[in-house]
């Protein structure tokens, strides 16, 4: 195998399966593989192949998927590719896939649609651009504010610790004990005075 872009394990496992599906990413690959296992259980249609006969490959990108398609086609293994919707605007990429999958017919109508779609997406990007810029500005401001709050918090923490430690200082404790003793003495004196006056009466 000369092409280093192709994963050896994928190629070998693919060769031992009955058909191959090339996907763009690991996520797509694992989810499609799992759903495919349910296809024959859920559908009323009867397929000669089931989900377990098909090997799903993570092509890692749109471009490297073409290499897998070429390889499996060259060994006469049934192969298809699944691409994301955004591939439609890249007519050259679609051409490469169609060639790799062994399609000789050039679809003029597709090329027309591809260019229209590309123009539409570009016009939408122009509309979205200012909105996107505003969102970015707000996000930057928010980030600044978060940093400011973080910078201030140790200062507040220090202040609060200092005021807490003040109430627990030995001087403050002596002061408060003295105040308690004085108030106790006053109340005792008042009580005695009350008692004495009641006895006299």
């Amino acid at each position: 195998m000369r092409n280093k872009a192709l994963g050896k394990e994928d190629v070998i496992t693919g060769l031992f399966s009955r058909a191959v599906v090339i996907t763009e990413s690991f996520g797509d690959c694992s989810i499609f593989r799992e759903i495919a296992l349910h296809v024959s259980n859920l559908s009323n249609d009867v397929y000669p192949l089931t989900g377990t006969d098909v090997y799903f490959i993570d092509g890692q990108s749109k471009d490297s998927g073409v290499q897998y398609a070429k390889f499996f086609r060259s060994v006469n293994l049934p192969v298809v590719a699944i691409l994301d919707f955004d591939a439609l605007k890249q007519s050259s990429l679609i051409r490469k896939y169609l060639a790799a999958l062994g399609t000789t017919q050039e679809s003029e109508s597709f090329m027309q649609v591809s260019s229209e779609l590309g123009a539409y997406i570009r016009s939408m990007q122009e509309i979205i651009k200012p909105v996107h810029e505003s969102i970015e500005k707000v996000a930057t401001e928010f980030e600044k504010m978060t940093l400011q709050v973080k910078a201030l918090s140790p200062h507040f923490l220090h202040q609060s610790q200092r005021s807490h430690s003040n109430t627990n200082s030995p001087e403050m404790m002596i002061k408060s004990r003295n105040m308690l003793q004085t108030s106790s003495r006053i109340s005792k004196k008042l009580y005695l005075e009350d008692l004495l006056s009641s006895c006299v009466e």
Binding site: R18, A19, V21, F26, G27, D28, S30, I31, F32, E34, I35, A36, H38, V39, N41, L42, S43, D45, Y47, P48, L49, T50, G51, V54, N76, P78, V79, V80, A81, I82, L83, D84, F85, A87, L88, I94, Y97, L98, L101, G102, T103, Q105, S107, S109, F110, Q112, V113, S114, E116, L117, Y120
Partner: protein, 106 residues
Amino acid sequence: MCGVASLPNSMQRTVEGSIAQLEKQGLFIHASGEVESLFPHINIATSNKQEWHAKALEYLRSSEFLALANEYDQKSETQGTTPIKWLGKVIQHLSSISERQTKATD
């Protein structure tokens, strides 16, 4: 297909026609929202792909999925393709290539 539905009406039909042409040639196009629509209960932003996929796979392997997917497929019968039916179409296409090759070999 979610991606197509968001296009202006005039463009929708031509794009759908074009996608159908590509499918006949073994190139299947899917909208990103299409697969995610099977997992309405997974409350993770799809931008966080790694976490989303881990949750989705965990769910796909649960027995709960079969019942919901079956129900979902029946409900959307009139609304065109669903992820399961759509993938069924992919496997159907591979099956037909396989049959053609077998006949050619015989």
